[in-house]
């Protein structure tokens, strides 16, 4: 066992535990915390894959902004323990098995597909991490138009949130 492998298995285990806790917890806050755990361990995996900048962005935006917003809303609405209503029998009995089946099928398909076969057992590139300079060059040259489009998207989202949150006079 070498260091990257240990890191990978620890983080993968934490991510899966977090995802399971998200499903099993009945308090919304616990679910949110579990999701934060998933996001942080994924950030470590990004570091392992050499994507430093993405790892930092993942923590800043996902764990530091989006999930804080979730926790904030849960606190604001004082959302208590989730009630278990059973209107949908299908979801209750078929949900879990189907989900497990789906994830296994997905994993199988990803590994056995045309692309998957090429890289499945490859080690993938070098060990060096991606420099932020290269990434930003890509972002501001090749993908400049999508970048500008997302900025407009964010502006619209801010306006939308404001309109929704505004009190009626």
């Amino acid at each position: 066992m070498t260091l990257p492998f240990i890191m990978f298995f620890v983080c993968a285990a934490l991510a899966v535990i977090g995802a399971l806790t998200l499903i099993l917890a009945r308090e919304p806050i616990h679910s949110a915390l579990a999701l934060v755990l998933v996001m942080v361990s994924l950030a470590v995996l990004y570091l392992l894959l050499g994507a430093e900048f993405i790892a930092a962005v993942q923590i800043i935006v996902y764990a530091g902004a989006i999930m804080v917003l979730f926790v904030f809303v849960i606190m604001l609405l004082n959302a208590g323990v989730e009630e278990r209503t059973d209107y949908s029998k299908l979801a209750k009995f078929a949900g879990l098995p189907l989900g497990i089946f789906l994830s296994l099928a997905l994993a199988y398909w990803m590994l056995e597909s045309f692309i998957g076969k090429q890289i499945a057992n490859g080690l993938g590139g070098t060990n060096a991490s991606v420099s932020t300079r290269e990434l930003s060059a890509q972002l501001f040259q090749k993908y400049l138009f999508p970048f500008e489009a997302t900025s407009i998207l964010i502006l619209i989202a801010i306006l939308g949130a404001l309109v929704l949150a505004k009190k009626d006079e």
């Binding site: 995996l45 949908s88 929704l164």
Partner: protein, 102 residues
């Protein structure tokens, strides 16, 4: 120093995506369901980063960047909607918000 094979990451990504779908179907609280969507987005991001590494190209990372930005915008609007729904219906249980259900 050896490197972890890309396939490990892909399997993890698939498992997380599946768990996200299960959470989406099983949970009854709108906020938690929303979180399940975020979990699925995260799983997809992991696959993007893994593929970017496998092909040694940066496009995958740029895509992750966009996914994160869109997720941020989406959660801002989504949570505002949730607050409005709660103010009107006094519940977060999805099955009690069924006025339009036939």
């Amino acid at each position: 120093m050896s490197i972890v094979p890309i396939s490990y990451y892909l399997v993890l990504s698939a498992v997380l995506f599946g768990l996200g779908i299960v959470a989406f179907v099983v949970k009854r609280n709108i906020i938690t369901i929303f979180m399940a969507i975020e979990l699925m987005l995260n799983a997809v991001n992991l696959a993007f980063v893994a593929f970017a590494r496998a092909h040694n190209q940066l496009d995958g990372l740029v895509f992750v960047f966009f996914v994160i930005v869109v997720a941020a915008a989406e959660s801002a609007v989504g949570l505002a909607i949730i607050i409005t729904v709660y103010q009107n219906r006094q519940t977060l249980n999805l099955e009690r918000i069924n006025l339009l259900k036939f």
